[in-house]
Amino acid sequence: MTGLFSEVFLSALLFGAVTAAIPLLLAGLGEQISEKAGVLNIGIEGMMLAGAYLGFVGAFYSGSLWLGFLTGAAGGAAVALVMALLCVRIGLNQIVIGIALTLGLEGLTALLHHFQFSRSYPRLPAADATVIPLLSDIPVIGPAFFKHHLIAYLAVALVFGMGYLYRRTQLGLNLQAAGDKPAALDVAGIDVIRTRTIAVLATGTLAGLGGAYLANVGAGLFIPFITNGAGFLGIVLAMLARGRPVWVLFGALLFGVCLSLTTAMQVAGINIPTDVIQMLPFLAVMIMLVLFGRRASLPAALGIPYERGAR
């Protein structure tokens, strides 16, 4: 048991937590954009899977992680484009299409993986980390937080970028209006459909990036169903955060710690089913909701397709 609390172990645990948190963070931030704009994006799990698969394929064949992130983000955006066409442009039911896209991408990526990689199970070399000087020398915390791939820092920076976007920019306000009172936005002369399309595409890009991070940096390989509910966790995070990007970060870290703890327990050979630890973050959040549960401040028009002149 002494090994459990050694410095090395602790920093490895935290390092794992951050690695696990980054995809959740990207998914949560992405989902938040859609939800702000009034689109409940249940297809995000599928977008992450597309990102994970294409991200891996891109990185594997080009040998460049960055190209992998690019193809991953493009893959997520491509799925989002379908979602935007079907749910925003012509207003089909967001839950039907979202779940259908998730099912379809689960199947499609597993299928492609079967024909391409199921015999060899290729792996990517470990991602090279960007070491932040000085800070990374701090014991425990240094190696845990300041030796990650550059994308991880960018994702954290994005939290503050999104905060700025929502509060200070025209686009941010438009997004919010598209979710709260789309008709008012329309009257103000701004295209609701366009605003929501931008939101959904941004969601897909971020989710795809998150998926690519999960496959390329987190795991170093692609396996079917690799996201394992990360997209749905992203939805939970976005809803819990009530529109505030910083809360997505905190939530992602909480879930990241628990995910990392699961692996750490297995490594340490502790005889508790990993399911018990997997339950912890959900238990924590449910208890928080029971104790402090207030009315959710969700956008008024969430999930309702906008049709000009309806009613």
Partner: protein, 365 residues
């Protein structure tokens, strides 16, 4: 193919309660269901071609195994039993405007408790009573599981999409913990619950392998449909679903109804788990999660929350999943292709409905 859509087509016509369901209307409905499915099959076929599999052979196996072979159709009908219960539960929730996305957690907990209680109970009481009690236990457990999201939504206004999604993650893990720690069969090396002997399971229908759970499922979904469309209680729920504020103003006890909706919806999901275990599987293995809920949710929407149409869609889903499993084995395509097929069918059906609606509107205008 015509057999599988007939129920949904005639049923949707039935739903046009005005009674003006003409022959032409039925024919149009049939076309509107069959046409999109054909289109979806062609699109999915292109994917099969792209990965080097003969689509005709694949579909041939799907039809043969899922629909036309005696054993296949029996498996298909057996698969329908849990799906029907899940669909019934979702119809109640969605009609009342509550997004119960926690069906899988409720399903698994119902399944695990039924699997744990049934083998014990059959030893101390007559089989029929034991099965009845297991059903009851599964239902109660699922209802209790749904109480947290229900109460949070009813009295605190906490959005139920988050809470039910989280409860489903929790429930999936808890079901695994229960299988591995509490209800584990000491006689096996793989973690699983004790197996219910075949002769103690739900009886099979006549001389077939079809579980009588199918009849229970059909009864459940038809009763739900009738309650929602023909009774005062159903009307109240639909008012809550259509406009919760108006419901408050018309004097309905919305919080109480909310809890009732969750209880019914989760109870039916728990029964779905029980019917799958007591009727078909016999035990629960660790990490077993068929995730039926994810496929049933869009099907219920496409059925427009109509019970009879939902029966048709559930049948279609079962044919695709049973037939797909077998076709995958024989042609060495991973079974995951079924997911792709189901996904394309759902999207094309949704699109077809949209264009049909548009067409009708422009004709009226």
């Amino acid at each position: 193919m015509s057999i599988d859509t007939a129920p949904s087509a005639s049923a949707t016509a039935l739903d046009a309660t005005s009674g003006a369901a003409t022959r032409r209307d039925i024919l149009r409905r049939l076309l509107m269901t069959l046409g999109p499915i054909l289109v979806a099959l062609v699109i999915a076929g292109c994917i099969l071609l792209a990965v080097g599999v003969d689509p005709l052979a694949y579909y041939g196996y799907v039809l043969e195994k899922g629909l036309f072979s005696p054993l296949g159709i029996q498996q298909t009908l057996t698969r329908m039993a849990p799906l029907l219960f899940l669909a019934a539960g979702l119809i109640v929730a969605f009609r009342a405007g509550m997004w119960n996305l926690g069906g899988d957690g409720q399903f698994l907990l119902g399944a695990v408790t039924a699997a744990a209680s049934a083998p014990v109970l059959v030893e101390i009481m007559p089989a029929w009573l034991a099965l009845f009690c297991s059903f009851l236990i599964a239902m109660v457990v699922a209802v209790v599981w749904s109480l947290v999201p229900a109460l949070l939504r009813a009295y605190q206004g906490v959005n139920e999409i988050i809470t039910t999604l989280m409860m489903t993650f929790l429930g999936t893990s808890l079901a695994n913990v229960l299988v591995k720690l509490a209800f584990r069969d000491p006689g096996t090396t793989v973690p699983q619950t004790r197996t219910l002997p075949v002769e103690d399971r739900l009886p099979r229908l006549f001389e077939t392998t079809i579980t009588s759970g199918l009849l229970l499922g059909l009864a459940a979904i038809i009763i739900v449909h009738l309650v929602m469309t023909r009774t005062a209680f159903g009307l109240k729920l639909r008012i809550v679903g259509a406009n919760p504020r108006a419901a408050v103003h018309s004097g309905l006890g919305v919080p109480g109804l909310t809890v009732a909706v969750f209880a019914i919806s989760a109870g039916l999901a728990g029964l779905a788990g029980a019917v799958d275990i007591i009727g078909v599987q016999g035990n629960v293995r660790a990490d077993w999660n068929p995730a039926y809920g994810l496929a049933v949710i869009p099907a219920v929407f496409l059925a427009r929350m109509n019970g009879f149409a939902a029966i048709g869609f559930v049948f279609l889903l079962s044919v695709l999943s049973i037939g797909g499993e077998s076709a995958a084995r024989r042609l060495d395509v991973p079974n995951h292709f079924t997911l792709v097929l189901v996904s394309i069918v759902l999207i094309v059906l949704a699109l077809a409905e949209y264009f049909d609606h548009r067409f009708n509107q422009s004709r009226k205008a």
